[in-house]
Each structure stands twice: as C-alpha cells, then as structure tokens.
C-alpha cells in the first residue's frame, strides 16, 4: 500500500470513507485508497441539507467511469452541509480527497457511535491485508 496517503488525525470506515470529528460535527469524504481504486470520479449524489442519515446505511452514491458505489454514513444524524463544488468538479475527489474533495458534514446524534471507527494505523492494517 505504498503511496497511499492516510492522514494520522482522521478516522476511517471499513468501506473507505474518512471521517473528521469536531465535537458533534462530522465531515465525511472518501480515502485516497478509495479514489485510486475508483479511478476518475464522474458524479456524486448526496442528500440535501436537513436530510437524515443513518449509521452504516447509504447516504449517496459515487460514480466512476466504470463503477457505481454506495457511500456509507459513519454515524446517524442530520446533514448540515454538502460540498456543492463537487457538482461541477467531481474530479476534486481524485485530486484532493482529504481537502477540497470532502463530501458532506453531518451533526451526529450520538457521538459515541464514532468510537468504533478505525484510526489511521488500523486503517493502514486493513489496506495491508488486501
């Protein structure tokens, strides 16, 4: 897994989303590994602000040239912000997956759910098994 960027300060899901936690506000994107496996991301469909999302359930889809994948929420809560730049520039998820390519922010109902996320070292181990 050389060359895959896994920032230390973030948390990760087994379905290759990254999660940044600021109190009850949770920012979600896809990892560098996910974007490199998908190839060119061409479209992302996310819920509107105010919609409810559920832990480990699909909150949207991400489409590459040849594949369609579900995006899974790391926590139950409500969408407070969606990255509107992705509509015209889905390639941001390839170019800057941990920065300009973020997907949504949610307010988590139960921040305790986030304790089960993987840390950087655990996520690195998960990729190492592939």
């Amino acid at each position: 897994m050389s060359g895959i960027n896994i920032p230390e300060q973030l948390f990760y899901t087994e379905s290759h989303e990254w999660v940044q936690i600021d109190g009850e506000i949770v920012t979600i994107g896809i990892t560098d590994y996910a974007q490199s496996e998908l190839g060119d991301v061409v479209f992302v469909e996310v819920p509107d602000v105010g919609e409810a999302v559920k832990r480990e359930e699909s909150f949207g889809t991400i489409e590459a040239v040849k594949t369609v994948e579900d995006l899974l929420s790391p926590a139950t809560g409500e969408v407070v912000e969606a990255n509107e730049s992705l509509g015209d520039h889905p390639e941001l998820m390839n170019k800057d997956p941990y920065g300009a390519g973020w997907i949504i922010r949610i307010r988590a109902e139960d921040p305790g759910e986030l304790d089960e996320l993987l840390n950087a070292s655990e996520y690195r181990d998960l990729l190492g098994e592939k």
């Binding site: 190839g39 060119d40 061409v42 479209f43 469909e45 489409e63 040239v65 040849k66 369609v68 015209d88 889905p90 390839n94």
Partner: protein, 438 residues
Amino acid sequence: MSAQEQISRQTVLHEWHVSAGASMHEFGGFDMPIHYQTIMAEHLGTRAHAGLFDISHMGRFWVRGAQAVPFLRRALTNDAAHLSEPGWSHYTILADENGCALDDTFLYRVDREDYLLVVNGANHGRDWAWLQELAQEFPGLQLEDRSQELAMLALQGPAAMRVLNAVVAQSGASPIVLSERNAVGRVRLDGADVIVARTGYTGEPVSLELFPATSRTVDLWERILEAGREESVLPVGLGARDTLRLEAGLPLYGHELGEGPDGQPIPIMALLSMASRAVNFADPGRQFVGREALARQLVEVDNRGRSAPEGTDAGQRRVPYLVRRLAVLDKRKDRPGNNPVRQGHRLLVDEQAAGWVTSGTVVPCWRHAPGTDSPAESIRRAIALAYVRADLRVRRPGTPVSVDKGRGRPLPALLVRTNLRVCGDHTRAVLYPGARLA
C-alpha cells in the same frame, strides 16, 4: 472445468502491463489492463496523439484454401467475395438462423486464399465450435485457431501512421501506405512480416491494427512506445477502449448485440447503419446463415413509421427496438450532462417506457480554441447507446427523451445522430443541445 481453466489467461504482454503498474482485471477470460494512468487521460491521449492497446484477448482464426471463400460466404453476413483482392477487410457478423448475432467480427483478406477472422474474446470458444460445425459442409477447408501464435495490437489516433512508420524506418524497410480505411498490408520488421490493417474500434480515422508473431510482440510494443514518445503516444487499457468505442457509437457484444434488455436476442438489423455495413444481400444466390430472417428484418426496418404490414401488431414485430445514440443533458437542458446513465436504465418519452440504455458513462472530450484544430481544454459529458422503440424518429439536432436511473428525477437526454465527427486526421466531439463541434 478443471481448476487450471478457471484461472484467467494472460497475453504475451501480461508481465509488461503488471510492471507498468496497470490496474488489471478479468476480461473475456484474460487478465487484462483496464488502465495504466486513468481512463480519462488515456481516452484524451488517444484522441489528441495516439494510443497503443494490447487486444490479444480477441480470437484470431485463419481460414485457408480453395474452400475458404465458399465457407466464409456461407458462415458470415457480409460477402467475402467482395474482398475482391488481398489487402482488404470488412466488418461482418456471425448470425444464427433467426438473424441474431452469435458475434460481430472483422474479416481480413491477407493473401489470395488466406483469410483472418477476428472474433470477440468473450465469444471465442462458442464461435470456434459454431465454425467447426459449419466447416463440416466444406471438406478440405483449413480452419485454424491461431490466437496463441499471433498477438494483436491496436495503434489508434492522429499520430498512429507516423509512429508506426518511424519504427519501420528503424528496421530499414519502406514505409507502409494504407491510405484507405479497411486496407490490409504487411510491414517487414527485422526480417519478419507483420500484418497491419487500417481498422480499429475507437472511431479514429488514423487507426491501425497489427498482428505480430507472439514471440516478437513485446519488442514491437516497446519500440512503438519509444518511437512515439515525442508524439506523446501512450499505452491504453480496455477501460478507455470502451469509452472510445462508446463515443464513436460502435456496438459491443453483450450490450448492443446478443441478449437485449427485453430478454430477447437483439435482431442484427436493429443496428441500422452498422448492420447495413455488415450484411450483404447483393448476390441473390448466396445462402448465408440467417439470410431469410435478416431480409425480413430489413423490410420491417425500412418500413418503420409506416403502418405495420397486415396481420402484424406491435407485439409481433421482428425489430421492435433499434440501437440509437444518446446525449444526456444537464438538468437545465442547456449544456451536456455529467450524470452517467448505465446499461439497464429505462428510457421514457412522455412518461411512457421507450427502451433501455445498453451502454453509457461519462466520457471526456477536447474543446478546441475557436477556428483552430488545437485541443485547448478537456470537458466531460454523459453519453450512451440505447435500445429504443422502433417508431421513435431521430430528428435533428435530437429527439427529447428522459432516462430513469431508478432514483431521483429522470434525466433529460436527446436521441442523436452522432456524438463524434471525423475532421481530417482526427475527431471532434459533437456537443448537445445544438450539435456544436467541441
């Protein structure tokens, strides 16, 4: 099936692809490169410069001897007798008696009695068995599967001919001139002949396919890339091969031929202009497999829009749907869309079912500076091929339809004549609405 047979096969370039860091996946029973960089970059590189493809997963059969022409005239929808001299090739289909395709193929007349038939990798075994069966009517026919001994490369794009001739010049041979589409020749490279044809599956006007001996293939591959370095020629995987053929509106077996989205085999004549290139009725005495069914399909396709022949209703149509090209629009309908539609998504007209998408995704294209032939920047657009109710007309610049992805609001789209146009030695995207050249 033994465990051995379940393992994907490899082309002679497999090790090269892996060392180049290609993303490898199974295709047609082979472990093949899907992309080396990204599908988008390889698509754009092919259109602007040229791309080199390993397509050795395709099947290659030699048909030889005095019985070759009678056999080919029986087995294939196009008329091999129309390849009136060595050095020509044509698109042709292996039909069944119902006028549906077992496979679509290319036939190359390499020498007086030597024909090379190229079939899809995924259909290789079934095609071979079918041809063997037909061959029994032609004692003395030489039919050989040469897929192991010969590899197959495609070099496609504006720089393709210059780059191949740079390799030929290094070998001290005279340059190859294949000035017309479907011409076939040989080049002498290091004392060995390589069959080269001006054919391809990308829509590029300068398109070459090469059939080197397997033992010389890696060397030739590397020399083409080396000679093409200054022209930015790059290796291209099967991912971009698929987006390039989709943009050119070319059919792929399993999508636009074979079993259709209605669960019925797709009648060959549903391919319209591609079918008329592949099916030849000119000689009334030629009894090729599927002739009667194809002739009936043709009558119906030619009469579409008029009242159905007496005694038939819509449910009894032989060709109820046609393969059409589709341009997806942005939700405001004022520019190309970027939301991909895929095989199986439903087409709607006035909220009524009108067909299905058979192939679709988002592809990149070059936008040119006004009044120039120079690619300035790349943009993306969602395009597709669709299997559409036969009574729907395609008006210029496009017939409005919508595509239901099964979630969200249906997307606006147009049935169009083409998504790509040939301009001199290269291609230009046609953008909708408005059918403007990119």
